[in-house]
Symmetry: C2
C-alpha cells in the first residue's frame, strides 16, 4: 500500500490541487463562507480529493482564532450580520462575548465527513490536515489560537502535534489525547443501534435512538434528578420521566444529520490516539469534574504529559460533558484568560 | 376500576386459591423446587392468577434466609447436591460460604414475569406480595433475613414496608427506595432498542444489544480502562476494544431470556417508589461508591430515612453496580456481620 512506502511517508498529507481554482469569497461582509478542495491522504482510507467548507468571520487583519466543536457542530459558530441564523456557540462568540469578532477573525470548518458522503474511517489527524490545507488556501500562516471543544479539542491536539509551528496556543475543552475505552464502548453500541435500524431500512429511527443514548453520556444523573419526574405507567407501558425530552432531541438530530456522517464521526472520536509528548505549543486544558464521557483523569494525564507551557482548569458542572455549551460564565472566563495570552488581549 | 374501590383496598393482595392443590415437593434432598399458584392483585394490571416458582435449600428447622438478585437472577441461587448446576451467587451461598445451607434454609423465587408470559407492568411491591404468598404456602411465618441485591434489594424494601412483621432483618445491597431518573432513562432506551429490533421481527437482536447497553451501566470506566484495548480499524469500520466482550455477553443473555421478561422486569425497576419511613425493621444498607446505576447518594438518603435500626456499609469497587457479584470478600464480610445479627450467628 502506498501509504507505507518511504515516499508516501515523506509526502505532505494535504495539498491544494493545482488544477483547482482559488477559493471564492462572497461579497465583502462581516462573515464569508467558502469551500476548499484538498488532496488529502487519509490515514485509514488513502488518498482522497475532498471539499472542506469553512466560514470566516470578524475583523480583517486581526488575530485568527479557529473554533471547533463536537461532531455535530458545524462551521457556523455564531450569528453574524451576513449569516444571521443562530450558531452553535453564540454564547461565547459574538460582539461583547469572550471571542469577539470585532477583535479577531474567527475561522471554522465543517468536519470532513459531516455531509455523509465520505464513508470511510476518518482519523482526527486527517481533520487537522484539512485545517492546515484551509489555512494554506486562505493565506493564513499561523493561528493565534485554536479553541476546540469535545471532538474539536481532540482535533486541536492533533493540529498542535502535526502543525505546531502554525499555532500560538491551543485551548482544549473536554477533549483529550485519547478516547477512553469505556466511552468507545458506549459509542460503538450507539453505532450498532444505527445498524439495527438500517436492517429494517430505517436508519433514521436508529440514528434518533443512538443520539438519545449519546445524550446520556453528555449529561449527568444530577441534572436528570433535578429535571425529570419518576417513571409512570402510560397505556400499559412504563415511561421514564426523561423520555419525552430524549425523544425530542433524537428526532431533531436525525432530521439534520446523515446516518453515515454520525457513524463516521463517532468512529473518528474512537481513533483519537496521540502522544501528548509530541506537543510543545502552549495548551490550556479545560476539564469538567463531572464529565462522564471524557474522564477528568484523562485531562490530568494530558496536562502532565504536554511538553510546552500548560495550564489546567477544572470546572464543576452538573451538565458534565456538555458544560462547554451550558456553563456560559465559567467557560467565558477560561476563554478570556487563554485568548488574552494568545492574542495579546485582542480577542 | 375495582382496585380503586374501598373493598379492593382492604382485601389482601395475595392469597392461595382454595381449589389449587398444595405445593408439591420433590423427593427429600438438600434442596427442593416447587411452584405455588397465587391469586395476586397486581397494582398496575389488576387481579391475576400466577404461578410462582421457588427453590428451598439447606437445613430443616434452621433460620430462613430469602436470597434475591437482579432481574436476570433466578431461584437457583447456588449449586447443591440436588441441583448441581452453578447458581448465580455460588460465591456467597454454599457450604463454608457467608450464607451456609448447613446453618440456614435458603429460599428464593423466580421473579413474576421472568418466564415472559406476564406481559403487564409489574410493581416491585407485587413481587413482595408474591414472596408473602410463597411463605404462606410453605408454612413459613417469618424470614430471619432477606438478602437482596439490585432489584432484589428493591423488592426487599417493599417486603419490609408491606410485610414487616414477617421479617427480622433486611440486607439491601445496591438497591434503594427509588429508581434514579437518569437510570430510568437509561433503561427506557434499552427497552426502545428491543422495540426497534421487534420492528424487523428480530427482538433477539435488539435484546442482545439492550443487554450490552445495560452492562455499561453495571460496570465502570475504571474497569474498562484496565481491561480493554483502544479502538482499531477492522475491515473499514472502527471497532471498540470492548466490543467482542459485549457482543458475547449480549448473545448469551438473549439466548436465555424472553424479550417480554426483560422488558417487563426492566420496567419494574423503574416503578420502584416507596417511602423509607414506612419501614421499621432492621436494615443493612450496602452501597458501592462507584455504582453508576444506583448512585450512592440514594443509599445515603435511604439510610437516613429508615425508621428502624439501620446500618450503612459503603464499599469501593471498580465493578460498580456489579460489585455484589464480583467483590466476594467484601460482600461476604457484610453478609456474615448482618446475618449474625439476624439469625443469632446461625448462618
Amino acid at each position: 500500500m502506498s501509504l507505507a512506502s518511504p515516499a508516501a511517508a515523506t509526502a505532505p498529507r494535504f495539498r491544494l490541487p493545482q488544477e483547482c481554482p482559488p477559493p471564492v469569497f462572497e461579497a465583502v461582509a462581516d462573515a464569508r463562507r467558502g469551500e476548499v478542495v484538498l488532496d488529502l491522504v487519509l490515514r485509514h482510507a488513502g488518498p482522497r480529493r475532498l471539499p472542506v467548507r469553512y466560514e470566516l468571520a470578524g475583523a480583517h487583519g486581526a488575530p485568527v482564532v479557529l473554533v471547533a466543536g463536537g461532531i455535530s457542530a458545524d462551521r457556523h459558530v455564531a450569528a453574524s450580520d451576513t449569516f444571521a441564523e443562530a450558531g452553535w456557540w453564540d454564547a461565547q462568540v459574538g460582539r461583547g462575548r469572550a471571542i469577539d469578532p470585532r477583535n479577531c477573525r474567527i475561522l471554522s470548518i465543517d468536519w470532513l465527513g459531516a455531509d455523509g458522503t465520505l464513508d470511510a474511517p476518518i482519523d482526527p489527524a486527517d481533520q487537522a490536515d484539512a485545517i492546515a490545507g484551509v489555512l494554506d488556501a486562505l493565506g493564513i500562516d499561523r493561528l493565534d489560537a485554536y479553541v476546540g471543544c469535545s471532538y474539536g479539542a481532540m482535533v486541536g491536539l492533533q493540529f498542535a502535534a502535526l502543525h505546531g509551528a502554525r499555532l500560538r496556543r491551543l485551548v482544549a475543552i473536554s477533549g483529550t489525547h485519547r478516547a477512553h475505552p469505556f466511552s468507545s464502548a458506549w459509542r460503538a453500541l450507539q453505532r450498532q443501534v444505527v445498524a439495527l435500524g438500517a436492517l429494517q431500512c430505517d436508519e433514521r429511527h436508529g440514528l434518533a435512538l443512538a443520539r438519545q443514548l449519546a445524550i446520556l453520556s453528555y449529561r449527568t444523573p444530577a441534572e436528570f434528578d433535578e429535571r425529570f419526574a419518576e417513571a409512570a405507567v402510560v397505556e400499559n407501558r412504563v415511561r421514564a420521566g426523561a423520555e419525552d425530552y430524549l425523544d425530542h432531541c433524537g428526532a431533531k438530530y436525525a432530521d439534520r444529520t446523515a446516518p453515515t456522517a454520525f457513524l463516521r464521526l463517532s468512529e473518528s472520536i474512537d481513533l483519537q490516539a496521540l502522544d501528548p509528548e509530541a506537543i510543545d505549543v502552549p495548551v490550556t486544558v479545560v476539564a469538567i469534574a463531572e464529565d462522564r464521557l471524557v474522564p477528568v483523569d484523562d485531562a490530568f494525564a494530558l496536562a502532565e504529559r504536554l511538553r510546552g507551557e500548560t495550564r489546567l482548569r477544572v470546572l464543576r458542572s452538573k451538565y458534565g460533558h456538555d458544560a462547554f455549551l451550558k456553563e456560559t460564565a465559567d467557560i467565558a472566563g477560561v476563554l478570556r484568560e487563554s485568548l488574552a495570552a494568545a492574542t495579546g488581549g485582542a480577542a
